[in-house]
């Protein structure tokens, strides 16, 4: 697969009820706001919220799947906004532009129910 300037990237993912549990185990981030419904509500959240770095991993996956492999992603920077929730579809989208010689740049965001979870995402991808 070869990604070109002018292409668009899109990935849709719906976080299932146990995704934060699995990600806590895999990443080592056991902050109770992600895994304990009662605790999350006590601190004023609507319920357990997604890990920001899990959402960033979806943005990274959108980039590597479009680019054709993990070795193509040279850098990724994001800003986190809002709180990601379970059960609602997240849409990662962006446009691919020219970058430095041999590189493409994808401007990406992650949106859930009209709210941005990730904004100003910038992926630098090695051109094929």
């Amino acid at each position: 697969m070869s990604l070109r300037e002018g292409a668009s990237i899109e990935l849709r993912v719906t976080p299932d009820p146990y995704v934060t549990i699995r990600y806590a185990g895999a990443s080592g981030d056991f902050n109770p706001i992600h895994i304990d419904e009662a605790f999350a509500r006590e601190v004023g959240l609507p319920g357990r919220i997604l890990h920001g770095l899990w959402t960033m991993a979806q943005v990274a996956r959108a980039a590597t799947e479009a680019a054709g492999g993990p070795d193509r992603l040279r850098s990724l920077s994001v800003q986190f906004r809002g709180t990601g929730t379970i059960g609602e579809e997240i849409v990662i989208s962006g446009a691919v532009k020219a970058g430095e010689p041999g590189e493409l740049v994808a401007k990406l965001e992650a949106v859930q129910a009209g709210a941005k979870l990730v904004k100003n995402g910038v992926a630098v991808i090695a051109a094929s």
Partner: protein, 148 residues
């Protein structure tokens, strides 16, 4: 409360992480990575890799082990209950494979009050057993109410 800006430049001892095959599979499954390079040893070898390939964002696992304890450093005076992850950047070098030994060092690169918020940025530098820099991370945390 004044922020502990005199701690900009503080460095922490290196933390080593041994990258395991099953940990790569576990992490890849948790983030929905289905690329066989992360799951299937034969596929990874057929593609020219010595072992399973870690997804780029696996940096959270090996560098996170060095980064997270820093947020609890009492000298930084971070109110953990008011902490939110504001921004994240990773710049990658060679891919990390199962069997690699990755060593990460962390430095405080920014402590700043802005718009009533405290900004704390940590930089992680991760190097593999051949001395190749596999990832540089910038972890920006925002503390609400820290600079009122």
């Amino acid at each position: 409360m004044a922020l502990a800006t005199d701690k900009i430049g503080k460095r922490y001892p290196a933390v080593a992480y041994a990258v395991g095959r099953e940990k790569i599979r576990e992490y890849a499954a948790a983030v929905g990575e289905t690329d066989p390079l992360h799951h299937d040893l034969e596929a990874a070898r057929a593609a020219g890799f010595a072992d399973l390939v870690a997804p780029p964002m696996f940096a959270v696992v090996y560098a996170g082990r060095a980064v997270w304890p820093v947020l609890f450093d009492p000298e930084l005076e971070i109110d953990f209950a008011m902490l939110v992850h504001g921004a994240q950047e990773f710049r990658w070098g060679p891919l990390v494979l199962a069997g690699d030994e990755v060593v990460t060092e962390v430095e405080v690169v920014r402590i700043e009050a802005r718009s009533g918020l405290g900004f704390y940025a940590l930089e992680s530098r991760s190097v593999n057993q051949r001395g190749e820099q596999v990832c540089v991370g910038t972890w920006t945390q925002i503390v609400r109410g820290a600079a009122e």
